[in-house]
Amino acid sequence: MSDDASPSDADEPSATDSTGPVEPTASSESLVLTYAAPFLGVLLISVGLPLSIVGGYVVVQDGLGLCGEPAITATPADEYDDSLATIEEIPAEQLSSAEREALEEAIDSPLQEGRVSGELENRAALLEGVVVEYEGTHYYVQITSQNSCLEVQPLLFPIGAVAILMGIGGVLTPPIYRKLAGFEERMRR
């Protein structure tokens, strides 16, 4: 970096002149600070984003109830014709209260989905898919999403955030450098 020149704001090169395009990067300008530093910055942002997303998510997932509540679907069995003949059938009474609430939610929902907010006693059976008789109608009920909780170290969030901030600093290096060079030159005068 010792060979860095200090182009100031004042001598910002013109993009074109009457003969055609002017080279975008003046020969006196540091390639390290014009291209390498911002590249490092983008790399830091790109690494920081996944780190902070995963780390941040793990911090908020419990608070916002984003995990551990599997979603089930309940499809009326008559939509499947006879293909459910070999599927295990369990009575609605065998479902836990949370499972039953989710079933009712799924039956009422236009998307046929409900969330199990509580004890999932029949997890194994629901993962396979079962037929449940509820209020005289048979439904094919299955877990469609386990909504498993993310398990990573929360410390990834600050690391990612710092990486993003440092990255932004890197991306802004060329204009900052030119501004600082101008500032230092003004101060020296």
């Binding site: 010792s2 860095d4 101060m187």
Partner: protein, 759 residues
């Protein structure tokens, strides 16, 4: 996490960012210039009447250039929307389990990403470029059917809205739910983005989701719009050419648009018919694609009879742009013009004969499969002719560094990898192994990402002066283009690697051993995302702040006899608009000359300055050290809050000088050292450190002394805590270095390097 709210928020952030850029650029444009002169532009408040007039103008225009811009703007919006889908897909795949979004959300994301990008991004943008430039290139006044042209465009916004009604309905429902009882909104919540894959294979696409109907209607509408556009392009090229332009000297981009349009009018009506049949199956009990009737394989035949030509509909305009733009930056005529035209026609014809290679694993008759294998390999020949001609055009040329050139060269490279991997996929035994893996995803992304958006960006840079009369920021453009090439290579080559490891595609969850490569692909995709945002920033900012072009030949095309008709049009326009060339005064003088007094030397004048200098240096150093240490303390406090830095180590600092272990005493000592020892060392050692500027020297100095800090204050952190401790220690020192150097510069302290005086 709620997918719709996340996606809409991200979209809003991008839009607000764009608006902010525009507002700032406009404001900066109206400010007085620093030399005390008057502002060149004047700030104009947009009145209601003007806004109304602008709205009427832009919604009723039949001017081909304005419609072209509308197409490009629409395509850009769709690209951002589809791009956010892509970023969310990659974020989902960061972890092996489906725990950021659900499996359902993942399926919705890749379905709508594919459809949005293919249908609503690529075709409209190329039609926009075609609308703007094709009449200029062939010397036509306008498109053959200007009103039809406008209709073709205005069918697109409603079609996008229909296709993506799921998100719009969900977000509207979520917002209304704040004030309206939930049960009233069940209709809105029933619209769920389809999760059926962009190919919409039955029986998945026959599943009950009302939004799928709207998606099909939206796609049908967009198909009508595309067909209208295609007919218009053909009529324009055939009937509206200038007398001087015959088939032999028709430019290469117009040739490509012509053949693309020919494919469009054969392929899109078929898609429309198939979509209507699917709609009938879904809503009126017909059995075209059900097992009892025509069967799901029938859909695949119909879809791919449109779908494979569609690949070339979006690919050929990109090759046209490459053939047009590349020669301009290598100073040579396009090598083998005729053969490129022939290869384009060959691709146009062959594209209809390769559809079944998407169906090698569906159990179609082996003899039919073999014939499709032959045609699929054969279509590589015209594509290879193009690549050969592009490389030969570059050969021995006067290659000039510019963003479009970087994009062209990057495209050729990525296209070769994408194309060669495609030849392997055309071979049935290989396809059977790799069809369901990330190999396919990597292959087609290397082609459709590696050349299509690349050429759009290249065209945007190449013609930017013509469209706006200003030049974009060329340094940023070079950086952005390189970043795009690196990001695309990293992302899609990684997907190829995942494919080689036989990682199945389209699954929301995957075995943990693939996690590392997925993280790499995600990082690559974020690099692509950042580079796209940089392009957007450059386009918007430069529209207001770019250097005005001083010539109609910004790329020196006249020198290589490549000054094509659209630039001639631009030259005429500039001449009509400005008439007289700008004049310059014979002599110029700076608006302000600083006074330079010479001090008479005297005894007093000789002794006092030295003392004053020493005091000033020490004072500036202490002030700089104080500012730096206080800033550094802020960073360290964050590290303390995160639990990666133990404040007890400060307390122990006091014991080094025989004081009791007390935090306040330790910190005072730290502050004292930060104001005395380290600034003095900086002032004496600075000149041995790299960097012309004090700031840079300060950063280097801080980096060196950070190592000592790290060892002295280490309190047994391990793993991630250690990494965070190291990062924060370095960051704190950089901030110290900047604060120290900045303050010293501001107070006029002695520069640590030997060079004196203004450079």
């Amino acid at each position: 996490m709620n997918r719709a709210l996340t996606e809409v928020s991200l979209f809003a952030v991008v839009v607000v960012g764009c608006l902010l850029t525009i507002v700032l650029a406009r404001r900066a444009r109206g400010e007085p210039s620093p030399d005390g002169g008057y502002a060149t532009g004047h700030r104009r408040e947009l009145s209601l009447a003007e806004a109304k007039a602008a709205a009427v103008r832009w919604t009723t225009t039949t001017n081909h250039r304005e419609i072209g811009l509308l197409y490009i703007a629409f395509g850009t919006v769709a690209a951002i929307w589809g791009g956010i889908d892509a970023m969310m897909i990659r974020t989902h795949l960061l972890t092996p389990e489906a725990n950021l979004w659900t499996e359902q959300t993942y399926n919705e994301l890749f379905t709508m990403h594919g459809l949005t990008m293919l249908i609503f991004f690529v075709t409209p943008v190329f039609f926009g470029i075609g609308n703007y430039f094709l009449p200029l290139l062939i010397g036509a006044d306008d498109m053959a059917f200007p009103r039809l042209n406008a209709i073709g465009f205005w069918l697109l916004p409603p079609s996008l809205l229909l296709a993506r009604l799921g998100i719009v309905a969900e977000v509207t429902g979520a917002m209304l739910a704040v004030v309206v009882p939930g049960e009233w909104l069940s209709v809105l919540l029933a619209f769920q983005e389809p999760a059926i894959g962009w190919t919409m294979y039955p029986p998945l696409s026959l599943a009950p989701n009302p939004q799928t109907n709207f998606l099909l209607l939206g796609l049908h509408l967009s198909g009508i719009a595309t067909t209208i556009g295609g007919i218009n392009f053909i009529a324009t090229v055939v009937y509206e050419r200038d007398e001087s332009i015959g088939w032999a000297n028709l430019d290469i981009f117009s040739w490509n648009m012509l053949i693309t349009s020919a494919i469009v009018i054969f392929a899109f009506p078929l898609l429309g018919t198939a979509l209507l049949m699917l709609l009938l199956d879904r809503n009126f009990g017909t059995t075209f694609f059900t097992v009892e009737g025509g069967g799901p394989i029938l859909w695949q035949h119909l879809l791919w009879f449109w779908g494979h030509p569609e690949v070339y509909i979006i690919f050929l305009p990109a090759t046209g742009l490459m053939s047009l733009i590349l020669p301009k930056f290598v100073g040579r005529k396009l090598f083998g013009f005729k053969f490129i035209v022939y290869s384009t026609i060959a691709i146009g014809v062959l594209s209809f004969g390769v559809w079944a290679h998407h169906m090698f694993v569906t159990g179609v008759d082996p003899r039919i499969r073999a014939s499709f294998m032959a045609t699929s390999i054969a279509i590589a020949v015209p594509s290879a002719i193009k690549v050969f001609n592009w490389i030969t055009t570059m050969w021995n040329g006067d290659v000039r560094l510019a963003a479009p050139l970087i994009l062209c060269v990057g495209s050729v490279g990525l296209f070769i990898v994408g194309g060669v991997t495609g030849i392997f996929l055309a071979v049935i035994p290989v396809d059977v192994i790799y069809h369901g893996t990330y190999y396919v995803v990597g292959h087609f992304h290397l082609i459709i990402m590696g050349i299509i958006p690349f050429m759009m960006f290249a065209a945007s840079y190449y013609w930017y002066p013509l469209i706006t009369g200003r030049m974009y920021d060329r340094r940023l453009a070079i950086f952005q283009s390189s970043l795009l090439v690196i990001g695309s290579g990293l992302t899609f080559m990684t997907l190829m690697a995942l494919g080689f490891l036989e990682h199945p595609r389209r699954y929301a969850t995957y075995p943990a051993e693939y996690s590392g490569l997925h993280v790499v692909a995600t990082v690559g995709s974020f690099i692509i995302g950042i580079s796209v945002l940089m392009w957007l920033y450059n386009m918007l900012w430069s529209y207001f702040q770019g250097t005005p072009v001083e010539t109609a030949d910004p790329w020196e095309l006249k020198a290589t006899q490549q000054f094509t008709p659209e630039w001639q049009w631009f030259e005429d326009r500039l001449e009509r608009k400005h008439g007289i060339p700008p004049s310059e005064p014979e002599e110029v003088r700076p608006s302000y000359v600083p006074a330079q007094e010479e001090r008479p030397p005297s005894l007093y004048g000789r002794i006092v300055p030295v003392a004053r200098r020493a005091l000033s240096d020490a004072g500036a150093g202490a002030a700089g050290g104080f500012v730096g240490t206080v800033l550094m303390t802020g960073v360290l406090l964050v590290a303390v809050a995160l639990g990666v830095f133990d404040p007890e180590s400060f307390a122990n600092l006091a014991t080094l000088v025989g004081l009791p272990a007390n935090l306040a005493l330790g910190y005072s000592l730290f502050l004292f050292a930060g104001m005395t020892v380290w600034p003095l060392l900086f002032l004496s050692l600075g000149e041995y450190l790299p960097g012309e500027l004090t700031f840079i020297t300060g950063l280097w100095y801080a980096t060196v002394i950070a190592s000592g800090f790290v060892i002295a204050f280490y309190t047994g952190q391990t793993g991630l805590e250690l990494v965070t401790y190291l990062v924060f220690a370095l960051l704190a020192h950089w901030i110290y270095g900047l604060g120290l150097a900045g303050m010293i510069t501001y107070l006029g302290g002695r520069r640590p390097t030997s060079s004196e005086g203004p450079r």
